[in-house]
């Protein structure tokens, strides 16, 4: 019973945090510097790892599809398979998982440490709402940066697939043919589908990590526990949410 109550408490406090962050949204111009800092952290510093992983995910997809196509049929559909898989599923999920591991853990650690070392209390005594200064700019930044990261992941993944498709002996299809099937059978709706997912995942990951950080109690040991909890919870939420968002969008 206790874990169930704890989950409900967590959901309740996360929703409360979201409402409070929305309340402070009009103060964004005052927090513009912090918003830019967070865009830099979420976007720019995450970009290299997103690019590397997307490239190889696209490559592996093309390789596996090529392997299957050896016996099954037309190889030109490899482009479509990589294109759709990246756009609708793999890019948003991969970016969200990276966000949870790289940014979510950092957010949880920073806020938990601020809570444990009374910096959050200090803000409250200064009549500066911590949500306005620490949560709202992060949420806006993730909403802005997630589509950018996801589109880059899509493009790099497609490109990785195209290179593998061209230079692998048993596939050997030209990029023109690879991208032609992609253009023919995919539309902007497929990309949008992925972007909607990415927005949902990114927003929830940052919200959950902020909430866990801000509700940390105890000593320095709890900071590590908060980070673990934030990352594990985020990963579970991404996969559960993926199913429901996919169902809702299909």
């Amino acid at each position: 019973m206790k874990p169930f109550v704890r989950v409900l408490e967590g959901v309740g406090s996360t929703v409360q945090l979201m409402v409070r962050a929305a309340y402070f949204l009009p103060t964004l111009p005052r927090q513009f510097g912090r918003f830019i800092d967070q865009c830099y952290l979420i976007g720019y510093t995450t970009l290299p790892i997103v690019a590397i992983l997307s490239f190889f995910i696209g490559s592996v997809l093309a390789l596996q599809a090529g392997y299957a196509a050896q016996n099954l049929g037309p190889k030109q559909f490899i482009g479509l398979l990589v294109g759709l898989s990246m756009a609708r599923e793999l890019a948003p999920v991969m970016v969200a998982v990276l966000l949870a591991g790289r940014v979510g853990s950092a957010i949880a650690a920073e806020l938990a440490s601020m809570k444990v070392y009374q910096e959050i209390d200090a803000l409250e005594t200064m009549n500066i709402p911590p949500v306005r200064m620490l949560v709202m700019p992060r949420l806006v930044a993730v909403v802005v940066m997630m589509p950018v990261l996801t589109i880059i992941a899509d493009l790099v993944g497609w490109f990785g697939g195209a290179i593998v498709a061209k230079y692998t002996d048993f596939i050997a299809i030209e990029p023109a043919s690879y991208f032609a099937t992609m253009r023919q059978y995919m539309d902007f709706g497929d990309v949008m589908n992925g972007l909607v997912k990415a927005e949902a995942f990114g927003f929830v990951v940052v919200l959950v990590c902020c909430n866990i950080g801000l509700n940390t109690r105890g000593g320095p040991r709890e900071i590590g526990a908060a980070v673990t909890r934030a990352v594990v919870t985020s990963l579970i939420i991404i996969l559960v949410l993926d199913y429901f968002v996919t169902k809702a969008l299909s």
């Binding site: 910096e119 209390d121 200090a122 005594t125 200064m126 009549n127 500066i128």
Partner: protein
């Protein structure tokens, strides 16, 4: 020490009425543990009130009630006649709490730590904020520390920066949580002098939580002693020097008895 019912702003010299604090039958429990038990006392506008007591007696919890960080289980805390738990009180009365460990923002420089409050509350242009911050640093003899980060400061400097940050808020009520803990005797005396000077020059109502007997006797105009969550003593320095309660006498001047050590009598 001179009495005044008006607090002087250290930056503009504008005077505002000093605020008082009234604790009425305050009790606080965390789960089944009762930390504060029916505590009542009053702090007069413009005075330095020192709250003493052994570790774990509820002093810091009481301080958190005054700034509204904790809500009473029962009873009431009034600051300038207003409920301390109400959010409006924090907007109407400028209160500053100097935390035991400083609670400086580690990601910000000393300058930005001090500038945070005026920037967030938009109390002036950046040039005015700069002037105010540098003046606060000057008052605390920290002129050369502006560009440093909290991790580069000594314990004493951190405490002084925390006091300077509180000063920038132009407080009507200053609260100090163990301001001399972990400091050497000279630095402890320096902090005590700072608290007394701020009171003397700006007439800020000050509540100091401490178990430093020397600091209490040197600057405390009135003293309260909390033990086990109860207020066992309320009086002035002279009364504190000759306590009637043996528990308080033992707390103030504990005798070291190696043959019958206290830790063997402590509850586990």
């Amino acid at each position: 020490m001179s009495e005044s019912t008006h607090t002087t702003n250290p930056f503009s010299a504008v005077q505002t009425p000093a605020v008082g604090v009234k604790i009425q039958h305050l009790s606080k429990s965390f789960g089944t543990v009762e930390v504060l038990k029916d505590v009542s006392f009053e702090v007069q506008p413009g005075e330095i009130f020192v709250l003493m007591g052994p570790s774990g007696s509820g002093k810091s919890v009481l301080l958190k009630h005054i700034v509204g960080l904790e809500l009473p289980t029962s009873g009431q805390v009034l600051v300038d006649g207003k409920d301390a738990a109400a959010e409006e009180t924090r907007e109407q009365v400028r209160m500053a709490l100097v935390f035991q460990a400083g609670a400086l923002f580690n990601s910000l420089s000393v300058y930005d730590n001090l500038a945070l409050y005026p920037r967030e509350h938009r109390v002036g242009k950046e040039s005015e904020i700069r002037e105010k911050v540098m003046r606060a640093l000057q008052i605390l003899s920290l002129d050369n520390a502006a560009a440093k980060f909290p991790s580069e400061l000594s314990g004493g400097m951190r405490k002084r920066v925390a006091i300077a940050r509180a000063l920038v808020m132009e407080p009507q009520l200053m609260l100090y949580d163990e301001p001399t803990s972990e400091l050497d005797p000279v630095m402890s005396a320096t902090i005590a002098e700072i608290i007394a000077t701020l009171k003397e020059e700006y007439h800020v109502t000050s509540i100091v939580v401490s178990h430093d007997r020397d600091l209490t006797l040197a600057i405390g105009e009135r003293v309260g002693i909390l033990m086990g969550g109860k207020l066992l003593f309320l009086g002035n320095g002279a009364e504190l020097r000759a306590p009637k309660d043996p528990k308080i006498a033992d707390f103030l001047s504990p005798k070291i008895d190696v043959k019958n050590p206290r830790f063997r009598q402590l509850e586990t």
